[in-house]
């Protein structure tokens, strides 16, 4: 497994996972840092958008199967 190239589906899964964890992580900044005020900041909104895009790209790769990424 560690010697073979990732397939498009594996890369897609990895991106979905990374994007989802990242999305939750960016949202969690507000929950963990109690001193923050004012909701989502501009950098946070941008990061959320980027994570969402990563998830979408990941999902679009899932149907492409075992072809090497």
């Amino acid at each position: 497994m560690w010697e073979r190239p990732l397939s498009k589906r594996q890369l897609g899964l990895l991106l979905v996972l990374t994007g989802s964890v990242g999305f939750i992580g960016v949202l969690a900044i507000d929950l963990l840092d109690a001193g923050r005020e004012g909701g989502l900041g501009p950098a946070q909104s941008l990061a959320l958008g980027a994570m969402f895009l990563i998830v979408i790209v990941g999902l679009s790769l899932l149907p492409l199967g075992d072809r090497p990424a």
Partner: protein
Amino acid sequence: MTAGNRGFYRNALRAHRFLLWAALLLLFGYLLVFLTYAANLIQFPFDYDQGEGFELVDTLLFSQGRWPWQDVETYPFYSSNYPPLFHLLAVPFAWLFGPSYAYGRALGTLATLIAAGAIAFAVRRDGGPGLLAPVSGLAFIASNTIYHIGPLNRQHMSMVMFETLAIVALANLECTGDTRKRRRTFWLGMLLILAAGYTKQLALATALAAIAFLFIRRPRRGLQLAVGLALSGGGIFLLLTLATDGQWWLQTISANVNRYDPQQALGLLQQWFGLHGFLVVPALLFLLYELYLGRLSIYSVWLVAALAVGLFSGKWGAGDSYFSTAIAATCLLAGVGCTRLLANSSGQRTLRSALALLLIPLLYLGYARAVLHLPTRTAPFASFAATLNVRPNALNGLYDSARSPEGDFPPGYADIGHLTTDKDIRAGEELVALVRAAEGPVLSEDASFALLAGKDVVTNPTQLLNLANNGLYRGDALLQMLRDRAFGLIILRAGFFPGAILQAIGENYEPDQVISMNGFDYRLYRPRPENTP
């Protein structure tokens, strides 16, 4: 294939060659513009871009065996906020020539040329026919952003050079059959990424791109690179933190967390696309092709990572230079994409391949038009500008298509690129003479005047502001010196000091005169007479 189609293809091939030569010629013109600007700056003895002087101070401190990451609460209140490699490279020149901007600017110029050469090399290695390789390399130098930051005494272009070399080195790692050669290439790539990261922190994105690419191609190799970089990079990081009593961590990491303005990032993103769109579009299309139909190359992964860095350009203190890695990746990927398109079309002699032949040079010609910049009053460009009726929209006769006809540009775009004049040098000399004549230390927003006058360089204002914005600066000792009117002269340019320092200057010093140099007004302040409220 009909005789008519064959004839059309033959003509398209001829037109392709002619248009590509035309593109090469135009882009070569930008190389001349770049070298003219570099030669002008190398001869200019004072600060040109904000911050150049403090990079020189870092080099001089290293040349004396001292760390540039220092406690800003004690005199001379100076610290750097950058990693060391660029300054270390300049140290031998500091030993030979003393305080001078010339060698740092020459190093920046050389780094730009090497990065362009690496792009051309990669396109040629990928099978880039004839002129496409040099055209791709020259396209990098032709970028407005690369033009104006390349020849500065700043570390940014050296970082881009190391990044580009690392990516080009690692690109074909998995295709290397010889185990020893592959191992050597792997270590070389890792060393170059480390060099980039210890030149400027932004290279982290390139490190992540390289790890991601190797992981996609062979997960074990990607993990090896990640562990190797973490151990070597982390080890150096730890040593520097310990050796500087934590100042390395404080000054280069903690102080660099800055306010983010999405409007600035958006403006610079639009500008980047507007100027480089002729190459960005084919590069992105090739990225999509590799993602869904082919196999991802390291260049595609790099472009994505570099674009993410570009989005950080909304940070306070950031600017269009944050897109320079993306510009290198764009030029490389567009060149490789065009190479593949030509390779796929060759031998087919279809209408589609004929159109591809025509499209590629037209993209580079369109790009050459979009990035138009040149001095309009300096030979041999003046006659060219007159012929094309190009009117200056920046200082000292510069035309820069990154600006509006009125000279406006988005926040964050560096207001530089123009040639300096003898008048600027005379103004700088006057400022140095005033600093030399002043009693006691001088507080100046640019370091060159104090350096050339043989006085202490006191503070690095933007670093004080970085620290103050993060609640990491008190400034008691500097404020006390200002209240005591201990500085014989204060020189402000942009007022980048923390608010409390500016307030203390206003309360204890009075305006004396204004000297213009290089398009900027240097405001001089003298101590208010004793007992003045």
